[in-house]
């Protein structure tokens, strides 16, 4: 709505103005998914250069930003594809996030929750959490120790809402790999959020 109109008026706009208009937005979009500053920069730069070539086809129809984000989405997926082709998945990737200690007990109930790690009730709603920028910092910090591909699978699934097939194709993994990764990511995140957010919230 607040989209600048200048590109509509002039036939050959000043393309470098895109950097100030959309650079931060595109970079934030990319880094939220890639968690790697230089990879995010590369994707944004590739997006601008691709947009430059394709500009005649766009010709100011619709929002410039939406158009750029559309290109960036492809660049991010290409990046995942490239990285995973170079490093095929290892059998043990992320095994330490199996978190066996959550279910280790000395009594007869082994493989049930260990009371020290068992979930508690979270008193919060999505609408209040999205308003808390410190919550997103905690969430990001909790995601960062996960192996890159596991964190990416989680982000593509939960943030972008991609289907299993799309994620498996982009990350070069099987569906059962994906389910194991998502499970490990969720188990780890839940515990990390409980310690670093929900427990602190109720005691403060």
């Amino acid at each position: 709505m607040s989209e600048p109109q200048r590109t509509l008026q002039s036939q050959s706009p000043d393309f470098s103005a895109w950097v100030d208009l959309h650079g931060d937005y595109l970079y934030k979009y990319a880094i939220f998914r890639l968690r790697d500053g230089s990879a995010a920069e590369d994707c944004v730069q590739e997006t601008f250069l691709a947009a430059l070539k394709a500009y005649r086809g766009f010709e100011g129809r619709g929002s410039e930003r939406t158009w750029l984000v559309g290109i960036l989405k492809h660049k991010v997926t290409d990046h995942f594809r490239r990285v995973t082709r170079e490093a095929p998945i290892g059998e043990t990737e992320g095994e330490e996030f199996e978190h066996n200690e959550f279910f280790t007990r000395t009594d007869e109930w082994s493989n049930h929750w260990n009371a020290d790690y068992a979930p508690s009730e979270w008193h919060a709603t999505p609408s209040e959490l999205v308003e808390r920028s410190d919550f997103w910092k905690v969430l990001n910090d909790c995601l960062s120790p996960l192996p890159g591909r596991t964190a990416s699978a989680f982000t593509l699934r939960e943030v972008d809402g991609l289907t299993s097939e799309q994620i498996c194709e982009a990350l070069n993994i099987t569906v059962s790999n994906l389910w194991v990764m998502l499970h490990r990511a969720r188990l780890h995140l839940r515990n990390c959020l409980e310690i670093n957010w929900f427990t602190k919230e109720t005691t403060s």
């Binding site: 950097v19 880094i31 500053g37 068992a118 979930p119 009730e121 709603t125 999505p126 299993s164 499970h183």
Partner: protein, 106 residues
């Protein structure tokens, strides 16, 4: 007195069930998969029964739902990325991109 006998029976039933059902460790894995695929009838029944007697796994499921709903809500607000706490583009990258774009501008 009657209440005590009832509690005892309830406890025995729970104990008997929990001994025969999948463990918490197995159940949370199935809970995660339920977010990805349709569970079989057998899985649905065993998870339901497990949740009936295990409050920890009930909370686990509720926590999963809150995580998913919160992230989805956030993602649907993506136009607000500008004001988010994520880092902006560095000055150096900004200059580099401007240069590349202006070179191709001719």
């Amino acid at each position: 007195m009657a209440l005590k006998a009832y509690d005892k029976t309830k406890h025995a039933v729970r104990y008997w069930l929990l001994r025969r059902l999948p463990t918490c460790k197995q159940t949370v894995k199935v809970i995660s998969e339920s977010m990805e695929r349709k569970l079989s009838l057998r899985e649905r029944i065993t998870v339901k029964l497990h949740l009936w007697i295990c409050l920890w796994c009930v909370w686990y499921l509720e926590n999963m739902e809150l995580m998913r709903d919160t992230i989805r809500t956030k993602a649907s607000q993506e136009p607000n990325l500008d004001s988010s706490s994520l880092p902006p583009l560095s000055a150096e990258a900004r200059e580099r991109m401007k240069l590349r774009l202006s070179q191709r501008n001719d």
